[in-house]
């Protein structure tokens, strides 16, 4: 589904990604872990098409298409979804108008008629239930005045609405208490099928107790330096990142 080959990216002249290689197949869950500043969020931003970053090398193929050539909105239409670490507040734009625009633009992309008002509201109601998102929040401005937990629920709600093929969850666990974490992770699991895939970016093991990864990758200094099964996350939880840093820096030193 997703093939990343030797991806390099920079922001303001500073190289952050220094050759990422990663392949994700349908039905898989990949966890990307790593210390602060290793490039985890940059990878997510670059895949979603954030114009702040410049890709300086490498290729990304998404379902056979050149992902890097697409606008952010077309990446979304093609089935890519990014759950933001810090969801953006948009005062004055209601959740309903926001979601309606998103859904109908996608339908337009696939030459479908816009959804009728009643079908749209029905869909909203149905998907809200996935993450137990309060109806009150749905009638407010996008993320405005939402608590940290509400914002993350809202991300997963949007994911449920858009039914992406590949979801990238960027530090979805940050700022969540244990109940909110369970709800959000439960939402992600409900949306899981054998046809879609998930990349979970996280600093801690705790989210992986709820969203079971098939592969765990460790990102350090802009490269994936270690890949393993779910047990790797447990090792990291136990021993921290220092041993990986050491291993990597030593191998570089040689």
């Amino acid at each position: 589904m997703l093939e990343i080959n030797d991806l390099h990216a920079q922001i303001e002249g500073k190289e952050i990604l220094k050759g990422i290689n990663l392949a994700v197949k349908a039905g898989e869950v990949h966890a990307i872990m790593g210390p602060n500043g290793s490039g985890k969020s940059t990878l997510a931003s670059v895949l979603a098409g954030n114009p702040a970053f410049t890709v300086t090398g490498g290729t990304v193929t998404f379902n056979g298409k050149d992902l890097l050539a697409m606008s952010p909105e077309d990446r979304s239409h093609e089935g890519l979804f990014l759950s933001f670490q810090y969801p953006v507040e948009i005062p004055g734009v209601s959740m309903v108008n926001f979601m309606r625009a998103a859904i109908n633009e996608k339908r337009k992309y696939y030459h479908q008629e816009p959804l009728s008002a009643s079908d749209f509201l029905k869909l909203m109601r149905e998907k809200r239930a996935v993450v137990e998102l309060d109806n009150k929040l749905a009638s407010r401005s996008v993320n405005e005045g939402f608590s940290g937990g509400e914002k993350k629920r809202n991300e997963i709600f949007q994911m449920a609405m858009l039914q992406p093929k590949l979801s990238i969850l960027d530090e979805t666990d940050s700022g969540l208490d244990i109940d909110a974490l369970r709800t959000v992770a439960g939402g992600v699991n409900k949306l899981k099928t054998e046809n879609n895939a998930t990349i979970v970016i996280t600093h801690y093991q705790r989210l992986l107790d709820y969203i079971k990864p098939d592969f765990v990758h460790v990102l350090y200094k802009g490269r994936i330096v270690k890949t393993g099964g779910p047990e790797l996350a447990l090792v990291l939880e136990d021993k921290g990142y220092d041993w990986i840093k050491q291993e990597f820096d030593e191998s570089k030193g040689k």
Partner: protein
């Protein structure tokens, strides 16, 4: 030579014809206006509060004037096919600067309420006009003096003490001509003590390939404990130049809301001058300006807190695209001996293109202790983080911009105290940003990411 001279010369030559086609009440002030204009000049660019607008240049061209009040046939159906249907109002028309009435609306008004022509006023109206005409707008202001010298007609709105007018009074000004035309409209509004009324004024231009200079002076007297809402919506043409000044006097315990909206124009200069003369009065002054192409919108406001214990709140917002120019100069004056005044002024602007320019000058002058006042001004671009967030949800760059610009204007629309109008405005603003405002007149707007606000 000041542009004023051609108008004073005109009056000296043709004054008798102007007077003959007007009413004694309006004619009564012409000598004073003529005297005031002697040796005075219109503001030019760079004068205090006219940093960006050259009024002298606006008045300089030789526009035609309809001094003999020849009938013009305007099509009242045309602008409303898409603009403000289904809003239940008592509707009146002014064609160019001639009152046209509406024929059916008079019966809908509560007893004692008058909406009438300033020119063809009956006995009762003449008495009201004589009592208030020229008492709010000062004749030593050249714009006011010129309007007083030349205005032959206009509209009187009178709501007697204690009467509540439920249905909004709507005045539609239609400009239509075959060649360049200057129109001078006068509006006198008297809301007596304890009375309540809402007014919606819409300016439309039906001849898009003709130059207009559309001037108006609005005088408003708001009595003790009265409530008055005034919505001033300009949706004209790119060749319509508008110079409007609104002068308001508020008595104690009165509540006034003014919302000035410019959706489509050529060059616009609006003055809003509000004097709060009685305690415990409330004023809300809102403004919205949307400009693209080479449009020019300049709002000047003045709120005088002349007594204590009053509350004013002012917010003006602009979205400028292409080569549009916006200007805002706003002053709040808290006079000596006006304790417990609360006055807030804010001007927020978005320049959606790199060539659009905004000039803003917020001012606050306070001569009393024990007041709460604040003012502020911002000029910025659309939030790039929000843009990206929306794009990752599949919303196109064009649509995301439209949503953000609409959202930016939402608090101005939320300030409208008339639900039907609120919905209508939301729709009109959406259409303006989508580039389909004047769809039924001419709509060939193509959509691209780079032209953010579409011209008609």
């Amino acid at each position: 030579m000041s542009a004023i001279t051609q108008y004073t010369d005109l009056y000296r030559e043709l004054g008798s014809r102007i007077d003959a086609a007007s009413s004694p009440a309006l004619n009564a002030l012409r000598p004073a206006a003529l005297a005031a204009l002697e040796g005075s000049k219109l503001p030019t660019k760079g004068d205090e509060n006219y940093e960006m607008s050259d009024l002298d240049a606006l008045y300089a061209p030789d526009y035609g004037l309809n001094i003999d009040r020849l009938e013009v046939a305007a099509d009242t159906d045309e602008p409303f096919r898409c603009d403000v249907p289904n809003l239940s109002t008592s509707l009146y028309y002014i064609f160019n600067d001639s009152y046209h009435g509406s024929g059916f609306a008079q019966g809908q008004l509560p007893s004692g309420v008058i909406v009438a022509s300033l020119r063809n006023a009956d006995e009762a109206c003449r008495e009201i006009i004589a009592r208030h005409y020229g008492t709010v707008a000062p004749i030593d202001d050249p714009q006011v003096a010129l309007n007083t010298l030349l205005a032959q007609d206009g509209i009187l709105v009178y709501v007697p003490a204690g009467v509540v007018v439920e249905k909004p009074i709507q005045l539609v000004n239609l400009l239509r001509a075959n060649s360049a035309l200057m129109t001078n409209r006068r509006v006198l509004i008297v809301i007596e003590a304890g009375a309540q009324a809402k007014m919606l004024v819409c300016d439309h231009t039906q001849s898009h390939d003709v130059d207009f200079l559309n001037t108006q002076v609005i005088e408003v007297v708001v009595g003790d404990g009265a409530t008055f809402d005034f919505y001033d919506l300009e949706e004209a043409s790119e060749r319509t130049h508008r110079v409007s000044s609104m002068w308001v006097k508020q008595a104690a315990n009165s509540n006034v809301l003014i919302n000035g909206i410019t959706l489509m124009n050529g060059t616009t200069r609006n003055n809003y001058h509000i004097d709060i003369d009685g305690t415990h009065a409330e004023t809300r002054l809102l403004g919205m300006a949307i400009a693209s192409g080479s449009q020019h919108i300049d709002n000047h406001t003045y709120i005088g807190h002349n007594v204590g214990y009053c509350h004013s709140n002012e917010l003006f917002k602009y979205v400028l695209d292409d080569d549009a120019v916006g200007a805002f100069t706003g002053k709040i004056l808290v006079a000596p001996g006006s304790p417990r005044t609360e006055a807030y002024q804010s001007n927020r602007n978005v320049c959606a293109s790199s060539r659009a320019k905004m000039y803003t000058k917020p001012q606050l002058e306070i001569y009393t202790d024990d007041v709460k006042c604040g003012h502020g001004s911002t000029v910025g671009q659309l939030d790039q983080d929000a843009m990206f967030y929306m794009q990752t949800r599949g919303i196109s760059c064009h649509e995301a911009r439209t949503l953000l610009m609409q959202a930016f204007m939402s608090d101005i629309i939320d300030g409208v105290r008339l639900d039907a109008l609120k919905d209508r405005l939301r729709h009109l603003v959406e259409k303006r940003f989508a580039g389909t405002l004047a769809q039924c007149r001419s709509c060939a707007a193509s959509q691209s990411c780079h032209s953010k606000i579409k011209k008609k």
